[in-house]
Amino acid sequence: MDKLETLLNEYLKLHPEAETPLNYYNDLGEDGLIEILEQANGRQIKWTADFTGDVLDGGQIQYV
Protein backbone atom coordinates (compact mmCIF):
# COMPACT_ATOMS: atom_id res chain seq x y z
CA MET A 1 0.00 0.00 0.00
CA ASP A 2 1.62 3.28 -0.98
CA LYS A 3 1.99 6.33 1.21
CA LEU A 4 -0.87 8.31 -0.37
CA GLU A 5 -3.31 5.43 -0.02
CA THR A 6 -2.36 4.93 3.62
CA LEU A 7 -2.80 8.60 4.44
CA LEU A 8 -6.12 8.77 2.58
CA ASN A 9 -7.46 5.74 4.43
CA GLU A 10 -6.39 7.18 7.78
CA TYR A 11 -7.96 10.54 6.99
CA LEU A 12 -11.28 9.13 5.81
CA LYS A 13 -11.45 6.82 8.83
CA LEU A 14 -11.14 9.91 11.01
CA HIS A 15 -13.54 12.01 8.90
CA PRO A 16 -15.94 9.54 7.26
CA GLU A 17 -18.32 12.29 6.10
CA ALA A 18 -15.60 14.49 4.62
CA GLU A 19 -14.90 14.98 0.92
CA THR A 20 -12.08 12.77 -0.32
CA PRO A 21 -8.83 14.76 -0.49
CA LEU A 22 -8.20 13.08 -3.84
CA ASN A 23 -10.47 15.83 -5.14
CA TYR A 24 -7.61 18.27 -4.51
CA TYR A 25 -5.14 16.20 -6.53
CA ASN A 26 -5.27 18.36 -9.64
CA ASP A 27 -4.20 21.43 -7.67
CA LEU A 28 -1.75 19.87 -5.24
CA GLY A 29 -0.28 16.88 -7.05
CA GLU A 30 0.92 13.70 -5.36
CA ASP A 31 3.60 15.31 -3.18
CA GLY A 32 1.46 18.31 -2.25
CA LEU A 33 -1.45 16.09 -1.24
CA ILE A 34 0.78 13.87 0.90
CA GLU A 35 2.20 16.97 2.58
CA ILE A 36 -1.27 18.38 3.33
CA LEU A 37 -2.45 15.04 4.75
CA GLU A 38 0.66 14.64 6.87
CA GLN A 39 0.24 18.12 8.30
CA ALA A 40 -3.47 17.71 9.02
CA ASN A 41 -2.80 16.24 12.49
CA GLY A 42 -6.35 15.03 12.86
CA ARG A 43 -7.92 18.19 11.46
CA GLN A 44 -10.39 18.17 8.59
CA ILE A 45 -9.27 19.69 5.28
CA LYS A 46 -11.43 22.19 3.46
CA TRP A 47 -10.86 23.43 -0.05
CA THR A 48 -12.15 26.81 -1.22
CA ALA A 49 -12.22 27.35 -4.96
CA ASP A 50 -11.55 30.85 -6.28
CA PHE A 51 -14.77 32.03 -7.90
CA THR A 52 -14.08 35.75 -7.61
CA GLY A 53 -13.03 36.05 -11.24
CA ASP A 54 -12.15 33.73 -14.08
CA VAL A 55 -9.43 31.88 -12.17
CA LEU A 56 -9.28 28.30 -13.37
CA ASP A 57 -7.59 25.62 -11.26
CA GLY A 58 -7.15 28.15 -8.44
CA GLY A 59 -8.15 27.75 -4.81
CA GLN A 60 -7.02 27.56 -1.21
CA ILE A 61 -6.63 24.86 1.39
CA GLN A 62 -7.73 25.30 5.01
CA TYR A 63 -7.75 23.06 8.06
CA VAL A 64 -10.98 23.17 10.06
Partner: protein, 534 residues
Protein backbone atom coordinates in the same frame (compact mmCIF):
# COMPACT_ATOMS: atom_id res chain seq x y z
CA UNK B 1 -10.01 56.17 -41.23
CA UNK B 2 -10.03 59.84 -42.28
CA UNK B 3 -7.27 61.93 -40.70
CA UNK B 4 -9.75 64.30 -39.06
CA UNK B 5 -11.68 61.39 -37.56
CA UNK B 6 -8.44 59.82 -36.39
CA UNK B 7 -7.39 63.05 -34.68
CA UNK B 8 -10.77 63.36 -32.99
CA UNK B 9 -10.60 59.75 -31.86
CA UNK B 10 -7.11 60.12 -30.41
CA UNK B 11 -7.95 63.42 -28.70
CA UNK B 12 -11.02 61.86 -27.11
CA UNK B 13 -9.02 58.79 -26.10
CA UNK B 14 -6.31 60.85 -24.41
CA UNK B 15 -8.80 63.16 -22.72
CA UNK B 16 -10.70 60.17 -21.36
CA UNK B 17 -7.45 58.53 -20.31
CA UNK B 18 -6.28 61.65 -18.45
CA UNK B 19 -9.56 61.88 -16.58
CA UNK B 20 -9.70 58.17 -15.82
CA UNK B 21 -6.13 58.24 -14.52
CA UNK B 22 -6.85 61.03 -12.05
CA UNK B 23 -9.02 58.87 -9.79
CA UNK B 24 -6.43 56.09 -9.76
CA UNK B 25 -3.57 58.50 -9.08
CA UNK B 26 -5.57 59.87 -6.13
CA UNK B 27 -6.14 56.37 -4.81
CA UNK B 28 -2.46 55.39 -5.06
CA UNK B 29 -1.24 58.76 -3.70
CA UNK B 30 -3.52 58.40 -0.67
CA UNK B 31 -2.27 54.87 -0.11
CA UNK B 32 1.37 55.98 -0.34
CA UNK B 33 0.63 58.84 2.07
CA UNK B 34 -1.15 56.64 4.62
CA UNK B 35 1.61 54.07 4.60
CA UNK B 36 4.32 56.72 4.72
CA UNK B 37 2.67 58.34 7.75
CA UNK B 38 2.67 54.94 9.46
CA UNK B 39 6.37 54.56 8.70
CA UNK B 40 7.18 58.07 9.95
CA UNK B 41 5.53 57.20 13.27
CA UNK B 42 7.76 54.14 13.59
CA UNK B 43 10.87 56.08 12.54
CA UNK B 44 10.37 58.79 15.14
CA UNK B 45 9.51 56.33 17.86
CA UNK B 46 12.58 54.16 17.25
CA UNK B 47 14.86 56.83 15.82
CA UNK B 48 15.88 54.22 13.27
CA UNK B 49 14.23 52.02 10.65
CA UNK B 50 14.86 48.68 8.98
CA UNK B 51 12.97 46.16 6.82
CA UNK B 52 11.68 44.30 9.86
CA UNK B 53 10.07 47.46 11.26
CA UNK B 54 8.11 47.89 8.02
CA UNK B 55 6.40 44.50 7.91
CA UNK B 56 2.92 46.03 8.26
CA UNK B 57 3.62 48.95 5.90
CA UNK B 58 3.09 48.84 2.12
CA UNK B 59 1.65 45.32 2.18
CA UNK B 60 1.32 43.14 -0.91
CA UNK B 61 -2.42 42.97 -0.30
CA UNK B 62 -2.65 46.77 -0.11
CA UNK B 63 -1.01 47.14 -3.52
CA UNK B 64 -2.98 44.24 -5.04
CA UNK B 65 -6.29 45.84 -4.10
CA UNK B 66 -5.27 49.10 -5.76
CA UNK B 67 -4.18 47.37 -8.97
CA UNK B 68 -7.53 45.62 -9.00
CA UNK B 69 -9.39 48.92 -8.50
CA UNK B 70 -7.29 50.69 -11.16
CA UNK B 71 -8.07 48.11 -13.84
CA UNK B 72 -11.73 47.97 -12.87
CA UNK B 73 -12.11 51.74 -13.01
CA UNK B 74 -10.15 52.43 -16.21
CA UNK B 75 -11.44 49.24 -17.83
CA UNK B 76 -15.10 50.07 -17.28
CA UNK B 77 -14.60 53.66 -18.40
CA UNK B 78 -13.07 52.60 -21.71
CA UNK B 79 -15.34 49.63 -22.39
CA UNK B 80 -18.28 52.04 -22.09
CA UNK B 81 -16.51 54.85 -23.93
CA UNK B 82 -16.00 52.53 -26.88
CA UNK B 83 -19.55 51.14 -26.72
CA UNK B 84 -20.98 54.65 -26.55
CA UNK B 85 -19.02 55.72 -29.63
CA UNK B 86 -20.62 52.88 -31.55
CA UNK B 87 -24.00 53.14 -29.81
CA UNK B 88 -25.98 53.64 -33.00
CA UNK B 89 -24.31 50.70 -34.73
CA UNK B 90 -24.31 48.05 -32.03
CA UNK B 91 -25.58 44.70 -33.21
CA UNK B 92 -29.31 44.34 -32.70
CA UNK B 93 -30.16 42.63 -29.43
CA UNK B 94 -26.86 43.56 -27.82
CA UNK B 95 -26.71 46.17 -25.09
CA UNK B 96 -23.66 47.39 -23.16
CA UNK B 97 -25.75 47.25 -19.98
CA UNK B 98 -25.71 43.45 -20.13
CA UNK B 99 -21.91 43.46 -19.97
CA UNK B 100 -21.38 45.74 -16.98
CA UNK B 101 -20.92 42.98 -14.40
CA UNK B 102 -18.92 40.60 -16.63
CA UNK B 103 -16.71 43.55 -17.62
CA UNK B 104 -16.28 44.58 -14.02
CA UNK B 105 -15.29 41.01 -13.05
CA UNK B 106 -12.96 40.63 -16.03
CA UNK B 107 -11.14 43.95 -15.47
CA UNK B 108 -10.77 43.28 -11.76
CA UNK B 109 -9.36 39.88 -12.55
CA UNK B 110 -6.97 41.44 -15.07
CA UNK B 111 -5.87 43.95 -12.43
CA UNK B 112 -5.17 41.16 -9.97
CA UNK B 113 -3.17 39.24 -12.56
CA UNK B 114 -1.11 42.27 -13.52
CA UNK B 115 -0.73 43.22 -9.86
CA UNK B 116 0.53 39.72 -9.04
CA UNK B 117 3.45 40.34 -11.36
CA UNK B 118 4.21 43.84 -10.11
CA UNK B 119 3.48 44.08 -6.38
CA UNK B 120 6.66 42.50 -5.04
CA UNK B 121 8.85 44.93 -6.96
CA UNK B 122 6.66 47.95 -6.22
CA UNK B 123 6.52 47.08 -2.52
CA UNK B 124 10.31 46.56 -2.36
CA UNK B 125 10.97 49.93 -4.02
CA UNK B 126 8.59 51.74 -1.67
CA UNK B 127 10.16 50.25 1.45
CA UNK B 128 13.73 50.81 0.27
CA UNK B 129 12.90 54.44 -0.47
CA UNK B 130 11.47 54.92 3.04
CA UNK B 131 14.64 53.54 4.61
CA UNK B 132 16.99 55.42 2.26
CA UNK B 133 15.34 58.82 2.75
CA UNK B 134 15.17 58.44 6.52
CA UNK B 135 18.82 57.45 6.75
CA UNK B 136 19.88 60.38 4.53
CA UNK B 137 17.95 62.85 6.66
CA UNK B 138 19.23 61.29 9.89
CA UNK B 139 22.76 62.22 8.86
CA UNK B 140 21.78 65.87 8.39
CA UNK B 141 22.91 67.82 11.51
CA UNK B 142 19.96 70.18 11.19
CA UNK B 143 17.50 67.27 11.25
CA UNK B 144 19.26 65.75 14.25
CA UNK B 145 18.78 68.85 16.38
CA UNK B 146 15.10 69.32 15.61
CA UNK B 147 12.22 68.17 17.78
CA UNK B 148 9.74 65.44 16.81
CA UNK B 149 7.16 67.79 15.24
CA UNK B 150 9.68 69.43 12.91
CA UNK B 151 11.30 66.11 12.07
CA UNK B 152 7.89 64.71 11.15
CA UNK B 153 7.22 67.73 8.91
CA UNK B 154 10.61 67.41 7.20
CA UNK B 155 10.05 63.72 6.53
CA UNK B 156 6.55 64.33 5.18
CA UNK B 157 7.84 67.03 2.81
CA UNK B 158 10.44 64.66 1.44
CA UNK B 159 8.02 61.76 1.06
CA UNK B 160 5.15 63.80 -0.41
CA UNK B 161 7.13 64.52 -3.56
CA UNK B 162 8.09 60.89 -3.89
CA UNK B 163 4.54 59.67 -3.21
CA UNK B 164 2.98 61.85 -5.89
CA UNK B 165 5.68 61.03 -8.43
CA UNK B 166 5.50 57.29 -7.76
CA UNK B 167 1.68 57.15 -7.88
CA UNK B 168 1.60 59.00 -11.23
CA UNK B 169 4.33 56.83 -12.70
CA UNK B 170 2.67 53.63 -11.57
CA UNK B 171 -0.78 54.56 -12.88
CA UNK B 172 0.56 55.86 -16.17
CA UNK B 173 2.45 52.60 -16.71
CA UNK B 174 -0.82 50.62 -16.47
CA UNK B 175 -3.39 53.01 -17.92
CA UNK B 176 -2.72 52.62 -21.66
CA UNK B 177 -2.79 48.83 -21.37
CA UNK B 178 -5.96 48.87 -19.24
CA UNK B 179 -7.72 51.24 -21.67
CA UNK B 180 -6.84 49.30 -24.83
CA UNK B 181 -7.54 45.91 -23.24
CA UNK B 182 -11.00 47.24 -22.32
CA UNK B 183 -11.58 48.64 -25.81
CA UNK B 184 -10.68 45.22 -27.24
CA UNK B 185 -13.05 43.43 -24.87
CA UNK B 186 -15.85 45.90 -25.52
CA UNK B 187 -15.54 45.47 -29.29
CA UNK B 188 -15.63 41.69 -28.92
CA UNK B 189 -18.80 41.86 -26.87
CA UNK B 190 -20.84 44.50 -28.66
CA UNK B 191 -20.09 43.13 -32.13
CA UNK B 192 -20.31 39.38 -31.42
CA UNK B 193 -19.10 37.30 -34.33
CA UNK B 194 -18.46 40.34 -36.52
CA UNK B 195 -15.62 40.37 -39.00
CA UNK B 196 -13.59 43.29 -37.67
CA UNK B 197 -10.55 45.40 -38.43
CA UNK B 198 -8.54 47.35 -35.92
CA UNK B 199 -6.43 50.39 -36.57
CA UNK B 200 -3.43 51.64 -34.61
CA UNK B 201 -3.71 55.34 -33.81
CA UNK B 202 -0.73 57.31 -32.58
CA UNK B 203 -0.74 60.64 -30.79
CA UNK B 204 1.19 62.58 -33.48
CA UNK B 205 2.26 65.43 -31.20
CA UNK B 206 5.95 65.50 -32.03
CA UNK B 207 6.81 63.47 -28.94
CA UNK B 208 5.82 60.12 -30.42
CA UNK B 209 8.39 57.37 -30.94
CA UNK B 210 9.52 57.13 -34.57
CA UNK B 211 8.25 53.56 -34.80
CA UNK B 212 4.87 54.50 -33.32
CA UNK B 213 4.63 57.31 -35.87
CA UNK B 214 5.28 54.68 -38.54
CA UNK B 215 2.62 52.41 -37.01
CA UNK B 216 -0.03 55.16 -37.14
CA UNK B 217 -2.86 53.96 -39.38
CA UNK B 218 -1.70 50.35 -39.49
CA UNK B 219 -4.77 48.17 -40.04
CA UNK B 220 -4.95 44.46 -39.26
CA UNK B 221 -7.70 41.91 -38.72
CA UNK B 222 -9.12 42.16 -35.20
CA UNK B 223 -7.66 38.82 -34.13
CA UNK B 224 -4.21 39.45 -35.63
CA UNK B 225 -1.35 41.35 -33.97
CA UNK B 226 0.02 44.70 -35.10
CA UNK B 227 3.69 44.63 -36.04
CA UNK B 228 5.43 47.55 -34.32
CA UNK B 229 9.20 47.83 -34.41
CA UNK B 230 9.29 44.16 -35.45
CA UNK B 231 7.25 43.17 -32.39
CA UNK B 232 3.82 41.51 -32.57
CA UNK B 233 1.37 43.23 -30.23
CA UNK B 234 -2.38 42.89 -30.08
CA UNK B 235 -2.85 46.51 -29.01
CA UNK B 236 -0.95 49.50 -27.60
CA UNK B 237 0.23 49.01 -24.04
CA UNK B 238 1.53 45.50 -24.75
CA UNK B 239 5.02 44.38 -25.72
CA UNK B 240 8.51 45.26 -24.62
CA UNK B 241 9.45 48.38 -22.64
CA UNK B 242 10.53 50.11 -25.88
CA UNK B 243 6.92 49.96 -27.04
CA UNK B 244 5.18 50.48 -23.72
CA UNK B 245 6.81 53.12 -21.50
CA UNK B 246 4.86 56.41 -21.67
CA UNK B 247 2.94 55.19 -24.73
CA UNK B 248 -0.42 56.96 -25.23
CA UNK B 249 -1.43 55.26 -28.45
CA UNK B 250 -4.88 53.79 -28.94
CA UNK B 251 -6.54 51.18 -31.09
CA UNK B 252 -9.82 51.59 -32.95
CA UNK B 253 -11.60 48.31 -33.72
CA UNK B 254 -14.60 48.39 -36.04
CA UNK B 255 -16.58 46.03 -38.26
CA UNK B 256 -15.18 45.75 -41.77
CA UNK B 257 -17.00 48.05 -44.15
CA UNK B 258 -19.49 46.53 -46.52
CA UNK B 259 -22.16 47.96 -48.73
CA UNK B 260 -24.14 49.23 -45.74
CA UNK B 261 -21.27 50.42 -43.65
CA UNK B 262 -18.72 51.88 -46.04
CA UNK B 263 -18.49 55.11 -44.17
CA UNK B 264 -19.31 53.78 -40.74
CA UNK B 265 -15.99 54.59 -39.14
CA UNK B 266 -15.98 58.10 -40.55
CA UNK B 267 -19.53 58.81 -39.41
CA UNK B 268 -19.57 57.54 -35.86
CA UNK B 269 -19.87 60.06 -33.11
CA UNK B 270 -16.34 59.68 -31.80
CA UNK B 271 -15.45 61.99 -29.00
CA UNK B 272 -17.65 60.92 -26.13
CA UNK B 273 -16.47 62.61 -22.98
CA UNK B 274 -15.35 60.70 -19.94
CA UNK B 275 -18.37 62.01 -18.08
CA UNK B 276 -20.69 60.52 -20.64
CA UNK B 277 -18.79 57.24 -20.67
CA UNK B 278 -18.75 56.98 -16.91
CA UNK B 279 -22.43 57.77 -16.74
CA UNK B 280 -23.06 54.58 -18.68
CA UNK B 281 -21.81 52.43 -15.87
CA UNK B 282 -24.91 50.97 -14.41
CA UNK B 283 -27.17 52.77 -16.93
CA UNK B 284 -29.26 50.88 -19.42
CA UNK B 285 -28.12 52.30 -22.72
CA UNK B 286 -30.31 50.02 -24.76
CA UNK B 287 -32.59 52.97 -25.29
CA UNK B 288 -35.64 53.27 -27.44
CA UNK B 289 -33.58 55.05 -30.06
CA UNK B 290 -33.90 53.17 -33.36
CA UNK B 291 -30.74 51.40 -34.41
CA UNK B 292 -29.61 50.97 -37.99
CA UNK B 293 -29.76 47.51 -39.44
CA UNK B 294 -27.43 44.82 -38.17
CA UNK B 295 -23.94 45.21 -39.58
CA UNK B 296 -21.17 42.99 -40.81
CA UNK B 297 -22.10 39.99 -38.71
CA UNK B 298 -21.31 36.86 -40.63
CA UNK B 299 -23.60 34.00 -39.72
CA UNK B 300 -22.19 31.48 -39.05
CA UNK B 301 -18.95 32.69 -37.49
CA UNK B 302 -15.93 32.78 -39.77
CA UNK B 303 -14.29 29.41 -40.09
CA UNK B 304 -10.99 29.30 -38.25
CA UNK B 305 -8.33 27.20 -39.93
CA UNK B 306 -7.53 24.00 -38.04
CA UNK B 307 -3.90 24.12 -36.90
CA UNK B 308 -2.94 21.12 -39.02
CA UNK B 309 -4.38 22.73 -42.14
CA UNK B 310 -2.35 25.87 -41.88
CA UNK B 311 0.76 25.99 -44.00
CA UNK B 312 3.82 25.22 -41.87
CA UNK B 313 5.35 28.65 -42.15
CA UNK B 314 2.11 30.44 -41.26
CA UNK B 315 1.55 28.19 -38.27
CA UNK B 316 5.10 28.70 -37.09
CA UNK B 317 4.90 32.48 -37.45
CA UNK B 318 1.61 32.62 -35.57
CA UNK B 319 2.93 30.37 -32.81
CA UNK B 320 6.04 32.47 -32.39
CA UNK B 321 4.00 35.68 -32.32
CA UNK B 322 1.92 34.27 -29.47
CA UNK B 323 4.68 32.50 -27.54
CA UNK B 324 4.89 34.11 -24.08
CA UNK B 325 8.08 35.99 -23.29
CA UNK B 326 8.92 33.83 -20.29
CA UNK B 327 8.51 30.51 -22.14
CA UNK B 328 12.11 29.35 -21.81
CA UNK B 329 12.23 30.29 -18.13
CA UNK B 330 9.30 28.00 -17.41
CA UNK B 331 9.73 25.10 -19.84
CA UNK B 332 12.75 22.94 -18.95
CA UNK B 333 15.09 21.98 -21.76
CA UNK B 334 14.36 18.50 -23.05
CA UNK B 335 10.60 18.88 -22.65
CA UNK B 336 8.76 17.10 -25.45
CA UNK B 337 5.60 18.93 -26.37
CA UNK B 338 3.30 19.94 -29.18
CA UNK B 339 2.61 23.65 -28.72
CA UNK B 340 0.53 24.16 -31.87
CA UNK B 341 -2.26 25.50 -29.62
CA UNK B 342 -0.29 28.76 -29.40
CA UNK B 343 -1.51 29.53 -32.92
CA UNK B 344 -5.09 29.62 -31.59
CA UNK B 345 -4.36 32.53 -29.28
CA UNK B 346 -5.37 36.09 -30.03
CA UNK B 347 -3.22 37.93 -27.50
CA UNK B 348 0.23 36.99 -26.31
CA UNK B 349 -0.27 35.68 -22.76
CA UNK B 350 1.91 36.19 -19.70
CA UNK B 351 3.51 32.97 -18.50
CA UNK B 352 5.23 32.71 -15.15
CA UNK B 353 6.72 29.83 -13.21
CA UNK B 354 6.42 29.82 -9.42
CA UNK B 355 6.23 27.28 -6.63
CA UNK B 356 2.53 28.07 -6.20
CA UNK B 357 -0.05 25.78 -7.81
CA UNK B 358 -0.79 26.13 -11.51
CA UNK B 359 -3.74 28.19 -12.72
CA UNK B 360 -5.04 30.37 -15.53
CA UNK B 361 -6.54 33.80 -14.88
CA UNK B 362 -7.35 36.23 -17.69
CA UNK B 363 -4.22 36.40 -19.82
CA UNK B 364 -1.93 35.03 -17.11
CA UNK B 365 -0.82 31.44 -16.79
CA UNK B 366 1.07 30.38 -13.69
CA UNK B 367 2.87 27.04 -13.70
CA UNK B 368 4.03 25.21 -10.59
CA UNK B 369 7.65 24.57 -11.63
CA UNK B 370 8.31 22.59 -8.47
CA UNK B 371 5.72 19.98 -9.42
CA UNK B 372 6.20 19.74 -13.17
CA UNK B 373 9.48 18.74 -14.81
CA UNK B 374 10.47 17.99 -18.41
CA UNK B 375 8.46 14.72 -18.23
CA UNK B 376 5.16 16.36 -17.33
CA UNK B 377 5.46 20.04 -18.33
CA UNK B 378 3.83 19.43 -21.73
CA UNK B 379 0.68 18.11 -20.08
CA UNK B 380 0.12 21.02 -17.68
CA UNK B 381 0.88 23.58 -20.40
CA UNK B 382 -1.66 22.11 -22.80
CA UNK B 383 -4.17 22.05 -19.91
CA UNK B 384 -3.75 25.66 -18.80
CA UNK B 385 -3.45 27.02 -22.36
CA UNK B 386 -6.57 24.98 -23.11
CA UNK B 387 -8.37 26.98 -20.42
CA UNK B 388 -7.13 30.25 -21.88
CA UNK B 389 -8.22 29.26 -25.38
CA UNK B 390 -11.73 28.06 -24.49
CA UNK B 391 -12.22 31.36 -22.65
CA UNK B 392 -10.89 33.62 -25.41
CA UNK B 393 -12.71 31.70 -28.15
CA UNK B 394 -15.93 32.02 -26.17
CA UNK B 395 -16.61 28.26 -26.09
CA UNK B 396 -16.83 28.31 -22.32
CA UNK B 397 -16.38 31.64 -20.55
CA UNK B 398 -16.08 31.82 -16.78
CA UNK B 399 -16.54 35.27 -15.35
CA UNK B 400 -17.20 34.90 -11.68
CA UNK B 401 -19.85 32.25 -11.08
CA UNK B 402 -23.25 33.17 -12.42
CA UNK B 403 -21.95 35.07 -15.43
CA UNK B 404 -20.35 31.95 -16.84
CA UNK B 405 -21.57 30.70 -20.19
CA UNK B 406 -20.90 27.80 -22.56
CA UNK B 407 -21.96 27.55 -26.17
CA UNK B 408 -24.42 24.90 -27.37
CA UNK B 409 -21.66 22.73 -28.86
CA UNK B 410 -20.16 22.39 -25.37
CA UNK B 411 -23.48 21.73 -23.61
CA UNK B 412 -24.39 19.11 -26.23
CA UNK B 413 -21.07 17.29 -25.97
CA UNK B 414 -21.37 17.20 -22.18
CA UNK B 415 -24.85 15.70 -22.42
CA UNK B 416 -23.87 13.14 -25.04
CA UNK B 417 -20.87 12.02 -22.98
CA UNK B 418 -23.04 11.58 -19.89
CA UNK B 419 -25.47 9.48 -21.93
CA UNK B 420 -22.61 7.41 -23.33
CA UNK B 421 -21.23 6.45 -19.93
CA UNK B 422 -24.72 5.90 -18.53
CA UNK B 423 -24.27 8.07 -15.45
CA UNK B 424 -27.87 9.22 -15.74
CA UNK B 425 -29.13 5.65 -15.23
CA UNK B 426 -30.34 4.29 -11.92
CA UNK B 427 -29.12 1.45 -9.73
CA UNK B 428 -26.22 -0.80 -10.71
CA UNK B 429 -26.31 0.45 -14.31
CA UNK B 430 -25.21 3.91 -13.18
CA UNK B 431 -21.58 2.92 -12.58
CA UNK B 432 -21.34 -0.09 -14.90
CA UNK B 433 -19.11 1.80 -17.33
CA UNK B 434 -16.40 2.07 -14.68
CA UNK B 435 -16.45 -1.45 -13.27
CA UNK B 436 -13.16 -2.39 -14.96
CA UNK B 437 -11.32 0.41 -13.30
CA UNK B 438 -12.95 -0.02 -9.89
CA UNK B 439 -14.42 3.52 -9.93
CA UNK B 440 -10.95 5.11 -9.99
CA UNK B 441 -9.97 3.83 -6.56
CA UNK B 442 -6.36 4.63 -5.81
CA UNK B 443 -5.67 0.91 -5.38
CA UNK B 444 -6.72 0.39 -8.96
CA UNK B 445 -4.17 2.97 -10.06
CA UNK B 446 -1.41 0.95 -8.45
CA UNK B 447 -2.68 -2.30 -9.94
CA UNK B 448 -2.56 -1.05 -13.53
CA UNK B 449 0.78 0.75 -13.26
CA UNK B 450 2.63 -2.22 -14.78
CA UNK B 451 0.62 -1.89 -18.02
CA UNK B 452 2.52 1.31 -18.83
CA UNK B 453 6.20 0.39 -18.58
CA UNK B 454 7.23 3.19 -20.92
CA UNK B 455 5.92 5.88 -18.60
CA UNK B 456 7.85 7.15 -15.61
CA UNK B 457 6.00 7.24 -12.26
CA UNK B 458 5.47 10.98 -12.61
CA UNK B 459 4.12 10.65 -16.15
CA UNK B 460 1.85 7.78 -15.18
CA UNK B 461 0.46 9.50 -12.08
CA UNK B 462 -0.27 12.78 -13.91
CA UNK B 463 -1.83 10.92 -16.86
CA UNK B 464 -4.02 8.81 -14.60
CA UNK B 465 -5.06 11.87 -12.59
CA UNK B 466 -6.08 13.60 -15.85
CA UNK B 467 -8.39 10.68 -16.71
CA UNK B 468 -9.86 10.67 -13.20
CA UNK B 469 -10.47 14.43 -13.37
CA UNK B 470 -12.10 14.25 -16.81
CA UNK B 471 -14.68 11.83 -15.44
CA UNK B 472 -14.88 13.78 -12.18
CA UNK B 473 -15.93 16.80 -14.24
CA UNK B 474 -18.34 14.76 -16.37
CA UNK B 475 -20.06 13.13 -13.37
CA UNK B 476 -19.70 15.94 -10.82
CA UNK B 477 -17.34 13.69 -8.86
CA UNK B 478 -19.78 10.76 -8.74
CA UNK B 479 -16.92 8.90 -10.42
CA UNK B 480 -13.34 10.18 -10.55
CA UNK B 481 -11.56 12.95 -8.69
CA UNK B 482 -9.23 15.90 -9.16
CA UNK B 483 -11.23 19.02 -8.28
CA UNK B 484 -13.31 19.77 -5.20
CA UNK B 485 -17.06 19.24 -5.13
CA UNK B 486 -17.55 22.99 -4.68
CA UNK B 487 -15.50 23.68 -7.83
CA UNK B 488 -17.93 21.58 -9.83
CA UNK B 489 -21.18 23.10 -8.58
CA UNK B 490 -21.68 25.10 -11.81
CA UNK B 491 -21.89 23.09 -15.00
CA UNK B 492 -19.64 25.55 -16.86
CA UNK B 493 -16.74 24.76 -14.53
CA UNK B 494 -17.20 21.08 -15.37
CA UNK B 495 -17.18 22.01 -19.06
CA UNK B 496 -13.99 23.98 -18.53
CA UNK B 497 -12.10 21.04 -17.04
CA UNK B 498 -13.37 18.64 -19.71
CA UNK B 499 -12.14 21.10 -22.33
CA UNK B 500 -8.72 21.47 -20.71
CA UNK B 501 -8.25 17.68 -20.46
CA UNK B 502 -9.40 17.33 -24.05
CA UNK B 503 -6.72 19.85 -25.03
CA UNK B 504 -4.20 17.60 -23.26
CA UNK B 505 -5.42 14.62 -25.30
CA UNK B 506 -5.29 16.52 -28.58
CA UNK B 507 -1.89 18.15 -28.16
CA UNK B 508 0.01 16.04 -25.64
CA UNK B 509 -1.72 12.67 -25.88
CA UNK B 510 -2.54 10.48 -22.89
CA UNK B 511 -1.58 6.80 -23.18
CA UNK B 512 -3.50 5.89 -20.02
CA UNK B 513 -6.72 7.58 -21.17
CA UNK B 514 -6.41 6.02 -24.62
CA UNK B 515 -5.96 2.50 -23.26
CA UNK B 516 -8.64 2.64 -20.56
CA UNK B 517 -11.32 4.59 -22.49
CA UNK B 518 -10.42 4.56 -26.21
CA UNK B 519 -13.82 5.71 -27.48
CA UNK B 520 -14.11 8.65 -25.08
CA UNK B 521 -10.48 9.55 -25.78
CA UNK B 522 -11.17 9.81 -29.52
CA UNK B 523 -14.36 11.77 -28.81
CA UNK B 524 -12.42 14.41 -26.88
CA UNK B 525 -9.92 14.98 -29.67
CA UNK B 526 -12.66 15.19 -32.28
CA UNK B 527 -14.55 17.63 -30.04
CA UNK B 528 -11.61 20.05 -29.86
CA UNK B 529 -11.08 19.81 -33.62
CA UNK B 530 -14.75 20.61 -34.24
CA UNK B 531 -14.64 23.57 -31.88
CA UNK B 532 -11.53 24.94 -33.57
CA UNK B 533 -13.29 24.64 -36.93
CA UNK B 534 -16.31 26.69 -35.79
Amino acid sequence: MLKAVKDTWQNAFERTLDNAERASVRDFTNYYKTETDKAIGIMLQKNSINEQDLLGVFTLDGFSKRYEALYESIGLTFANWYAKNFDKYITKGVSPSQFQEPWRAAFRSLGLSVGAQRVTLVQGTAKKTLIKVFRQLSNDPMFQTEGEVVKSRMLKQKFNKYNTYQAKRLVRTEATYAANAATYRSAQDIFPGADMTKEWITAMDGRERDWHGAANGQKVDFNKPFIVMGESVMYPGLGSAANVINCRCSMAPYPKPNANTTTLIDQIGIGVSVGQAESLIGRNVDSAKPKPSKIVVKPPQPKQPVAGEVADNTLKAKKEAMRPDGWNDVVPSGTKLNDDYLALLETKPNLIGTSARSYQSSNLINIDIRRYNSETMGRVLSHEFGHLIHQTKGWCVLSGGRWSKSIDEVHNFYKSQRNKIGINKRGAEKFKYFKDIDNFRITHRDSIRSQFPNLTDKQFNESYAAVADYFGALTKNAVGWGHSNSYYISVEWRHAEMLAHSFENKYQGNAVFKKLFPEIYDDTIKWIEELIAL
